[in-house]
């Protein structure tokens, strides 16, 4: 592994930038029952936004939940138990959004069975459903070696990490695959590193944490070629 950092890939890895434009659909949920009804009936693109894409939207610094639904349950319904269930759910364990929707519906239906009252959002905290359109542009940052990759990871925006780790899962149609590990797999003989990247708990992390964890994972496998981001 001594000179792996100098090995040049057949094709460079081009980082892409991803610009999200939210599209509100004019529908909201004010209580648990309306949430369930909306999840059952709304377009998959709406569910996709609230479970996946919303991490590119502005959010306060101390949000611990990985998706909008869990955050809304905690913050607006003030129902910690529901927030725990929705926060533990990982859409990347499913093959498509149809399965994801069914799993969320199952969680909510199971939960409603035990409810003695229907929790209601406080005023001003209703869940307003959105979908999103995206514009993707190739950035000017690329990497041909793992050293260059490490250097680039410290420079690219969080939207690039979102694109290559979140959008990629659905775009590639391969479970547990992201653009970066896919590129490493196809250009370097480093199966342990590929596996370590694919084993990262992507959905749970914020984008900033993904950057830090990724740098750390590569560093562990490659020694000192990467410098930790500040």
């Amino acid at each position: 592994m001594g000179n792996i950092s100098d090995q040049v890939a057949k094709d460079p890895f081009w980082f892409h930038e991803c610009f999200l434009m939210l599209m509100p659909i004019g529908r909201k949920a004010v209580n648990f029952r309306e949430l369930l009804e909306a999840i059952r009936s709304l377009d998959e693109s709406v569910l996709y936004y609230h479970l996946i894409q919303s991490r590119l939207a502005p959010s306060p610094p101390a949000v611990e939940y990985p998706n909008d639904l869990a955050y809304w349950a905690a913050n607006a319904l003030q129902d910690s138990k529901l927030a725990e269930k929705l926060g533990s759910f990982d859409p990347f364990e499913y093959e498509n959004m149809g399965q994801v929707r069914q799993e969320v519906v199952d969680i909510l239906e199971d939960y409603i069975m035990d409810l003695s009252y229907i929790p209601e959002a406080r005023s001003g905290f209703e869940l307003h459903f959105c979908k999103a359109s995206t514009v993707v542009v190739r950035s000017e940052i690329n990497a041909q070696t793992l050293e260059e990759l490490c250097d680039a990871l410290g420079k690219v925006g969080l939207d690039s990490l979102y694109y290559h780790f979140f959008e990629a899962r659905w775009r590639l149609g391969v479970r547990k695959a992201d653009d970066l590990s896919y590129w490493i797999e196809n250009n370097f003989d480093l199966p342990d590193l590929v596996r370590a990247i694919r084993d990262m708990d992507i959905y749970f992390y914020s984008l900033k944490e993904i950057r830090e964890t990724l740098m750390s994972v590569i560093q562990q496998h490659m020694g000192e070629i990467c410098e930790q981001t500040p």
Binding site: E17, F19, M21, P24, P61, H128, F129, S133, V136, S139
Partner: protein, 407 residues
């Protein structure tokens, strides 16, 4: 005017690179913004900064303003109130006058464009006369229309549905319209006179000129004298605080040429503040950006106790200055303030008083809250993000039907 690359130090160099790449992909396009005032209010402030930056990116961008008489602005103010949920009476003769003023302005305009962004209801009717002058018409609504008066919204909806897309500041403002609706949050310019760094001497000079002594903690609300900003509620909160903690209240309001209601609300405020030497009510001209900046930087706690709010840029400005902010749980304030982190949300004068006292007694928490608030604004609400949204928007509108566009 600052150059785009100046913003790299605050927003990050990668952000500036993104703007150039997006603009380059769009190519040479003509972009027109239209609103109803050159000064006063958040829209004019954003446009005065965004239009030069868009031009620097190579988009030929012009800012046009419609003119109207007092009667016209009374109609549009009534629109504004009605769209925010107030009951108003708008007889047909007033609606006719609104249309006629738009027609007169349309006759005066000579521009042609690829994209036109029409801000708020005042110039919305221009599309009826000028549809062929631009390829894409986008209606940009800055108002909280979450609970509009149905009669007024029906009238306006018939106009707005002619557009190719609408843009709102919050998802709860979206309406039932036959075209794509997008969300763009407003922004502040960190280099504008209202937000640039000031020296302690500059701040003190403004306080001296406005005769504000720093002998007690300063509580500040900056906003138009508008009933939705609840300045009287702020005075009630202040009176509750004063029973327990020494402090002073400054209510600073700007004037806008398109707001005929201001003098009446100001009179109500003056009456509510009567007899209280620690309340200072300042009526500032619409271009008093330097003074507002100094006041915000001198304040210990900043309040924006709105009961309805489009977005609440005064909250954003205060957060950018690293101040602890207490805001009414309305519109975009909810998006910006998170309890114990970036600020406090309140629902009543009592709640406002409670949080003022809370912060006055916990200066370290107030300081930390201010730091988090500034970083939150840096990441999400600077003008560079706004420009990026404009470029993304027109890219999407230029490619109708596509939800993912790879350029």
């Amino acid at each position: 005017m600052n150059r785009l690359h100046d913003y790299a130090a605050l927003a990050g160099p990668e952000v500036i690179g993104q703007l150039h790449r997006l603009a380059e992909k769009l190519g040479a396009r003509r972009f027109v913004h239209i609103n109803s005032t050159r000064s006063g209010g958040g829209v004019a402030e954003i446009l005065s900064r965004a239009v030069p930056l868009l031009n620097q990116l190579g988009l030929e961008t012009n800012w046009e303003v419609i003119y109207g008489d007092q009667e016209f602005f009374e109609v549009t103010k009534a629109f504004h109130n009605a769209l925010q949920g107030f009951k108003v009476n708008l007889p047909q003769v007033m609606l006719d006058h609104y249309r006629e003023v738009n027609r007169e302005n349309a006759r005066r305009f000579t521009w042609e464009a690829d994209f036109v962004l029409v801000h708020d209801p005042q110039p919305a009717c221009l599309i009826e006369e000028m549809r062929g002058r631009a390829k894409c018409w986008i209606w940009r609504c800055h108002i909280d229309v979450s609970r509009p008066n149905p009669q007024v919204w029906r009238f306006l909806r018939d106009v707005v549905r002619q557009y190719d897309a609408s843009v709102f500041s919050m998802s709860q403002f979206a309406q039932n319209l036959p075209h794509p609706q997008y969300l763009i949050r407003p922004s502040i310019d960190p280099f504008s006179e209202k937000n640039r760094d000031l020296t302690p001497e500059e701040i003190q000079a403004v306080l001296d000129r406005l005769e504000i002594k720093r002998d007690k903690p300063i509580i500040l609300q900056v906003s138009r004298f508008d009933s939705f900003k609840d300045p009287v509620g702020v005075i009630q909160a202040f009176r509750l605080v004063r029973r327990h903690a020494p402090c002073k209240l400054v209510l600073a309001g700007g004037e806008a040429t398109d707001d005929p209601e201001g003098p009446r609300i100001l009179a109500e405020v003056m009456e509510a503040a009567n007899g209280e030497p620690d309340i200072q009510v300042l009526l500032l001209p619409s271009d008093a950006h330097h003074e507002v900046n100094a006041l915000q930087r001198a304040a210990d706690i900043i309040v924006q106790k709105s009961t309805r709010e489009g977005f609440g840029l005064t909250v954003t400005e205060a957060m950018w200055k690293g101040k602890p902010v207490i805001g009414g749980a309305a519109g975009g304030i909810v998006l910006q303030l998170q309890d114990y982190n970036t600020g406090f949300l309140v629902h009543s004068p009592e709640g406002c008083a409670f949080r003022i006292r809370y912060l006055l007694h916990r200066p370290e928490l107030a300081r930390r809250m201010g730091q988090l608030a500034r970083e939150f604004v840096r990441q999400h609400f600077l003008i560079t993000r706004h420009i990026r949204d404009y470029l993304t928007l027109v890219t999407l509108v230029d490619n109708p039907g596509s939800r993912i566009i790879e350029l």
